[in-house]
């Protein structure tokens, strides 16, 4: 059960504080986490789990990064081109890219996440089939590209064309849904300092995707994580690639603005 009283108290405190922050660049809304209270999911973890993420030879996410590096150099599709033929050294060309995704695609007139961008590049420039969501190859390429942004500050949502989509994502985040009638915000804004059963409720700052979850025993995307949460409140999850999921991803990334990319992160 969500302690309703606690939510009310936190909201009222924030409403008072809001006045002080009204003139800052990122507008805070009632219930938002204060900038100085923002934390990566990393900071909620036990020292043992942190140690797995910190050591690239112990972090299983690096297995996907290695696979992704091989795929980056592999010629594919009817154009018989590899990623590297256009983008050259990923360490240079891909640095900071993941930090600004999901980004606006002018042709589709909507935001696309990094996975969708990789598939668009495959179709548009390599003449190859798009890779399936959560397939090893798509996760590997995404992890390899995102790893080049490790330590770069997240800047997704800066493009003014994205503003309406960020707003849609925020609406979804605060909209109650499912048989448990819970919004994302009920846990991740109002109760992130508490626990749900034994697990820490974190702040929903997607700093390390695609990430290795010990529970999954695999790397997984932010969309997989979102679908898991939606299933958890007993709502019908959106299909992989649904615009609602991309809007949510975009809102969450914009909420983590300025926090460093950790890909491939490890989480319990």
């Amino acid at each position: 059960m969500i302690p309703v009283r606690a939510i009310a108290v936190r909201s009222s405190v924030l409403t008072v504080l809001l006045g002080a922050f009204a003139i800052t660049a990122v507008p805070l809304r009632a219930g938002d986490i204060l900038p100085n209270e923002r934390r990566s999911g990393y900071s909620f973890m036990a020292p043992d789990t942190k140690a797995i993420q910190d050591d690239d030879t112990a972090n299983p996410g690096m297995l996907w990064v290695l696979d992704g590096e091989a795929l980056w150099k592999k010629k594919q599709g009817s154009a018989d081109k590899a990623c590297t033929d256009c983008h050259d050294d990923a360490r240079v060309s891909m640095k900071g890219v993941a930090a600004r995704y999901p980004a606006f695609d002018k042709e589709l007139e909507q935001p696309v996440d990094l996975e969708a961008r990789i598939n668009l590049e495959r179709v548009r420039h390599q003449g190859a089939e798009p890779l399936a969501f959560e397939s090893r190859d798509l996760l590997a390429l995404t992890a390899f590209i995102a790893k080049q942004s490790r330590g770069v500050a997240i800047s997704a949502g800066d493009d003014p064309a994205l503003a309406p989509f960020v707003a849609k994502g925020h609406d979804l985040f605060t909209q109650r849904q499912g048989q448990l009638n819970l919004a994302c915000a009920n846990c991740h804004d109002d109760n992130w300092d508490k626990r749900l059963a034994g697990s820490a409720i974190t702040q929903a700052h997607p700093t390390g995707y695609p990430m290795y979850r010990l529970e999954w025993q695999s790397l997984g995307s932010l969309q997989r994580r979102l679908r898991g949460c939606i299933f958890g409140v007993r709502a019908q999850p959106y299909a992989f690639g649904a615009p609602e999921l991309v809007d949510l991803e975009l809102y969450l990334k914009s909420r983590a603005k300025g926090m460093p990319v950790e890909t491939p992160a490890v989480r319990p």
């Binding site: 112990a58 690096m62 025993q217």
Partner: protein, 106 residues
């Protein structure tokens, strides 16, 4: 694409206790799960891991279905001489992978 992540210190003093870490990409399918149709998903695990230091076995482990995917092994040994660590993973469905790393002992 099975791949391994190995961490052996590149240099050590003779007699030092060194930590060796080895991570192998593997699904470690337990053999206890069933598909939606009720059929058992066949067991597919690594069954043994061996580490040899200049040909001498210094560590061996047998794996069982309860071990998680992408098994990570960490152990200690004494740096006696410069040379090579050879790692070998053997498993179901003919799985057999090797990796190696060298160390300079002064």
């Amino acid at each position: 694409m099975p791949s391994a992540l190995i961490n052996v210190p590149p240099k050590a003093k003779r007699g030092d206790i060194i930590e060796i870490k080895a991570l192998m990409s593997h699904i470690m399918e337990t053999g206890y799960r069933r598909t939606a149709a009720g059929d058992i998903v066949p067991r597919d695990i690594i069954t043994s891991f061996t580490c040899r230091y200049n040909g001498t076995e210094v560590f061996r482990a047998d794996f069982f279905p309860a071990i998680a995917a992408n098994p990570f092994i960490s152990f200690f040994t004494v740096a006696r001489e410069s040379g090579k660590f050879d790692f070998e993973w053997i498993g179901d469905k003919g799985f057999s992978e090797t990796a190696s790393a060298s160390i300079a002992v002064e």
